[in-house]
């Protein structure tokens, strides 16, 4: 395969920037695509070229294969990097790239077919002896059938989108009472996210850990794993904090899981970067959950402890090069990633799109910020609310936690609400610090993680607010002499707490 000279990145946000950074370092030209809602986005400015692909909803822009391919042809791109989400796990898109003579930086369509639909993946894994969680092997056609199956294997169960991962289209169901609303929303989210509303059922394991193994395969038949990532800090099946090494893995268990992950990848003739996700139960049995046939959001923690650039490695493999290493490197030190979301944890994690009026990103030793935003940028309300991934490295887990806390304390985002304080609360929670936290951790500790107020700091904030009001009023009095400083009270936005008491409190 020839050298790649120009890559179209069929994505947006931080992952588009991430891929372009490596391309730039490799001397590869980059092409962005953008929807109407993303004309002002950073990935458009980061790329060497940029092409418009349609209206804001991703189904009409980023998910329209022909538009992406047309842009690639217009730009003269010889390869497409799909990022994660969008078309990254779409086998028909891989075939369309192939037909158009464009290199798809990712696994071959056949491997995606084998792993893409989760039910088929389960069946394939059972065939080669990889342990799986009990559940249906096929999507379920009707709600009635689904209820019947759920009754049979017993609640709690999980409803899962067959067409994709990333926590979208997933619902945990505790009993018959929740079934209808969970069924409806899982299907609708699955359709919106993957263009496919097929849903299947799995037994929900008690107190499981979500541990995944990064695998990499080249076109010469070499398949290796790059150790694990612990991703049990999840909210609504959306990962929030990830780390490596996993605090619950012994070297033996790591080797076993790595071996099984490599076996899984080999079974489907995998090529490129992939992740085999497992659930690990309280007895440290592990079960295949699914394989993500693309780069993961949380790949930076693996990069920190291995020193590898996984995007560069994807490109090398796509160029036909052999893997530069043939066994898993021993993890060096510890890395933690936290995902900064534009959402308000105190208002039930309501998304908080809007304009970022001020941004200060942490710096200093061993801190990495992968962001897709900038001061003055308006976070649109059409896409994922993740605005940045902050990751750190340190020699030990304890030091990595302290470093992540320090870095988060430097992070300032104004204009929108973020989950930064919530992330600090997670890192400070004894269960997290102790290291044995399961996928139920964040849900169970929801109230604790909202934090408690330090009255001393509240008093200082009170003093600050009085000086602030004084300086503001003085400035207003200067700029509009004789004007009513109180006039601004009538403006929209958050309402006075004196009035708020008269209004609904939403849960």
């Amino acid at each position: 395969m020839p050298k790649i000279r120009k890559v179209l990145v069929a994505n947006r946000g931080e992952i588009a920037i991430r891929v372009m950074r490596t391309c730039k370092e490799l001397g590869i030209a980059t092409v962005a695509v953008y929807s109407e809602a993303d004309r002002s986005a950073l990935h458009v400015r980061t790329a060497d070229q940029a092409f418009f692909v349609g209206p804001p909803p991703s189904r009409e822009s980023y998910l329209v294969q022909q538009r992406i391919l047309d842009a690639a042809k217009a730009a003269g791109a010889d390869a497409i990097h799909p990022g994660y989400g969008f078309l990254s796990e779409n086998a028909s898109f891989v075939r369309a790239c192939e037909a158009a003579g464009i290199t798809f930086i990712g696994p071959p369509a056949a491997a995606m077919d084998a792993m893409g639909e989760k039910t088929r993946a389960r069946a394939n894994m059972i065939k080669v002896g990889v342990p799986v969680v009990p559940g249906t092997t096929e999507p379920i056609a009707t709600e009635a059938e689904a209820r019947e199956y759920a009754q049979k294997i017993g609640f709690p169960i999980m409803l899962k989108a067959a067409g994709g991962g990333g926590g979208k289209g997933m619902r945990r169901v505790e009993g018959m009472g929740d079934f209808e609303s969970a069924w409806r929303s899982a299907k609708s989210e699955a359709l919106n996210s993957f263009g496919n509303d097929a849903v299947y059922i799995e037994k929900y394991l008690e107190k499981p850990h979500h541990v995944e193994i990064q695998v990499f395969a080249d076109t010469h038949g070499n398949v290796i794993h790059l150790n694990e990532r612990e991703c049990s800090a999840q909210r609504r099946h959306q990962k929030v904090v990830e780390e490596t090494p996993s605090p619950i893995l012994t070297p033996e268990l790591r080797a076993q899981m790595g071996e099984v992950a490599v076996k899984a990848a080999k079974a489907v003739n995998y090529v490129g970067a992939g992740t085999v996700e497992f659930l690990v139960d309280v007895h440290r049995n592990f079960y295949f959950l699914e394989m993500n046939t693309r780069l993961q959001v949380e790949h930076p923690v693996t990069e920190w402890v291995t020193g590898l650039d996984l995007v560069a490695l994807q490109i090398k493999v796509a160029e036909g090069e052999k893997l530069p290493l043939l066994e898993a490197p021993t993890p060096r030190g510890h890395s933690i990633e936290v995902r900064v979301y534009a959402e308000d944890p105190s208002r039930n994690f309501m998304p908080s799109p809007g304009k970022i009026t001020y941004l200060r990103v942490p710096g200093g030793p061993n801190v990495r910020d992968d962001s897709g935003v900038f001061p003055g940028y308006t976070v649109p309300n059409f896409y994922d609310p993740m605005i940045s991934k902050l990751s750190v490295w340190a020699p030990t887990r304890r030091e990595a936690i302290a470093r992540a806390q320090r870095a988060l304390s430097e992070y300032v985002v104004k204009g929108i609400t973020t989950n930064i304080r919530y992330l600090k609360a997670i890192l400070a929670h004894p269960e997290f610090v102790e290291g044995d936290y399961d996928t139920g951790f964040l849900g169970r500790e929801h109230t604790t993680l909202q934090g408690v107020e330090d009255p001393k700091l509240s008093e200082m904030a009170l003093l600050a607010s009085a000086v602030y009001a004084h300086q503001r009023d003085a400035k207003r009095a200067r700029t509009m002499p004789g004007g009513k400083a109180g006039a601004a009270d009538a403006s929209s936005g958050r309402i006075s707490p004196w009035r708020l008491a008269l209004r609904s409190r939403r849960r």
Binding site: G451, E459, A461, L462, S465, Y468, A469, R494, P497
Partner: protein, 169 residues
Amino acid sequence: MRYFTKQQGQKEAVPVDLEALGGDRYKLTVNGVTYQVDALALEHGTMSMLVDGQSYSAEFEESGDEVGVLLRGQVSRFDVADERRLRLRAGTAAFSVEGKQLVTAPMPGKVVKVLVKVGDEVKEGQGLVVVEAMKMENELKSPKAGKVTELFAKEGTTVENNAKLVIVE
């Protein structure tokens, strides 16, 4: 000069006496304690505040009547008014204490489902409207048991932050 600072979630406003000492220096008295404060306003709503040698970096964000203060990782919200502003406000309260509860859109988004109609009796916590933003569906629930008296939300429409959706009475 006297200010009244009411923290979100607190019932009572706390009076603060402020005396400007020139430059960035202030004398502030609250709850019977007097502080000498050096409060330097920087750009972008940032303030460097020194109180008895302690250093506090405060970040402010105004939102309607309130100002949010981020200080050493803690966010507090205050409504600060001097006596004149307080008087101006007296007549403007939009809703009476009991009764009507307005449910507004907590973020800009799209109304994907309206689950009630005018006249419906609803329970506390019952879903009223589903709003989608950033690919997440959020079900807005009734803050109280009562009857839906007004319905502004329409399926398929785009709504701004704080848009009125439903009134439950």
